[in-house]
Point group: C2
Chain length 347, copies 2
Amino acid sequence: MSTGLAISLDAMGGDNAPEMVVRGADIARRRFPQAKFLFFGDEAKVRPLLDSLPDLKKVSALRHTVSVVTMEDKPSQALRSGRGSSMRLAIDAVHNGEANAVVSAGNTGALMAMAKFVLKTMPGIDRPAIASFFPTLRSESVMLDLGANVQCDAENLVQFAVMGNVFARTVLGVREPSMGLLNVGSEELKGHDAVKVASGILRQATLPGKFYGFVEGDDITRGTVDVIVTDGFTGNVALKSIEGAVKLYSHFLRQTFKSSWIAGIGYLLARPAMNALRARVDPRRYNGAIFMGLNGVCVKSHGGTDAFGFANAIGVAVDMVTNGAIEKMREDFALLQAQTSAQAAAL
Amino acid sequence: MSTGLAISLDAMGGDNAPEMVVRGADIARRRFPQAKFLFFGDEAKVRPLLDSLPDLKKVSALRHTVSVVTMEDKPSQALRSGRGSSMRLAIDAVHNGEANAVVSAGNTGALMAMAKFVLKTMPGIDRPAIASFFPTLRSESVMLDLGANVQCDAENLVQFAVMGNVFARTVLGVREPSMGLLNVGSEELKGHDAVKVASGILRQATLPGKFYGFVEGDDITRGTVDVIVTDGFTGNVALKSIEGAVKLYSHFLRQTFKSSWIAGIGYLLARPAMNALRARVDPRRYNGAIFMGLNGVCVKSHGGTDAFGFANAIGVAVDMVTNGAIEKMREDFALLQAQTSAQAAAL
């Protein structure tokens, strides 16, 4: 299966696994006819599901696994005792060359720790980062890091910019992505040392994409840039703040439509359009947090998603593989390292 | 004017000053009949406005000032050469005891620098912070710091918690406010050192209010706690991210109602309710960023607001003065210092 497009799936990860995983793969199969699927999980549970989907079964293989990483397992625990787990073996398949990418809806911390341990960090990258994409006023943007590294220096931020840029090219389909550093103001003098130094490096470097400069919190959803670069603390807080704000607004809106019977009729008339709006911001469409910076594609699906959401997480993995994300990152990091060495030699 | 309630106003600060300031004071006068107003500004411009509002004029005094701090002035520049400015003299009035609080819609950086220079930081506080409040699913919450300090240690965060707590008691009317530290997860082990150490201190301390523990980005608008404590970098990004998300949602919603003529009729029927929603989240209702931690009440109004918004910024100042915010902060910081010294002595 090393040629072509093979996706390794942790069939046991997620609230509604394995059914959600198998049905998600079936949706992805229709979208990506070239894809093959390698399931890791409890044969007694997964086999009947595959049997019920003969078209999926034709392009799938199933490996029986005896243990499961639970949501309660600590990353260190999962690393030590999870060697036979569906999650670990699904990751191993990428390392062995049996699969091109792995997708899991299981325990995030355990998946990160295992993927980093097995696939190793790419040369030139100090720390992998979590990236995710979302709708904006303009189109779609990607932000990283979203929580893998709570403290980051300038080098880390520069590396995140390179990774995010590759993501925008390979998944969002942007030819020359713009990158912005998240800060508390757009002036050169604003912010702490890490963002100021990173800005200087990105301004100097000749890399794919365009460095825009500093962006602020409201630029995230405005879509000012394709790639928003920040440390894992700020990125995590910003993304969750946005999710919270959308929930607050939706709640107020529901109350509004319930506030009078005339408003209620208004809602009934607007309902088809409201459903279209809901579909547009449906979090399942943006499902898939990507561990960037490893020697392999690893996508984390939301644990509570359904088959449609899981299929989209598979879609992210397929896009990254098909468009050569790993190769592009290797090239860009070689470029960055050459430029940094040249600058150091010139000093 | 030192007894009673006197509010010092920078009549020249803001996009639509001085008219917006004077009309804002007139709205505030109706709401707070006990208040007196001390205007600092160009007499030729302010006097005619006051003459046109005789009821306001009765409770107002006007001091002619010759210069204005512009939006382009750097804080250092404003400090050096702005001694005769409307902003500086309005702040001086609080220091001299002529007024109990100052409100300005002018240059934020200049106002912070001047207020800190003139009013000085309160004993026990290392750094003042910017606080602001906003609507939540539950009611209203306050968050700080929003950008005064891009890097903060644990002590700073603990002090912000005490300041935010006083704000919730005096402005939001919460008897025993709950406080949460913004973090990337709610578990004890999450986050960087500053939040972990601050959490330990707040858990030990016996202060007014209840320490909730860690909160995440989506807890901000959920209203999980009354006071959200964070460093100025994260707080600024989080608040602006929320503002951006609300704009995105409003934009999508407008598009939704325009997407078909039936949806358009739906909108017409729901319009009165939609207007009520808009009033509920109206940023003018939440106008007023407060510089907490100084020996005096200093409120920054949004520069682009109107008279209604400016009146609300005056309202925040009035609430803080009337409910003894400065005295409460002095008490709480004395309490905190006594506990910290006792702990240090016990070691």
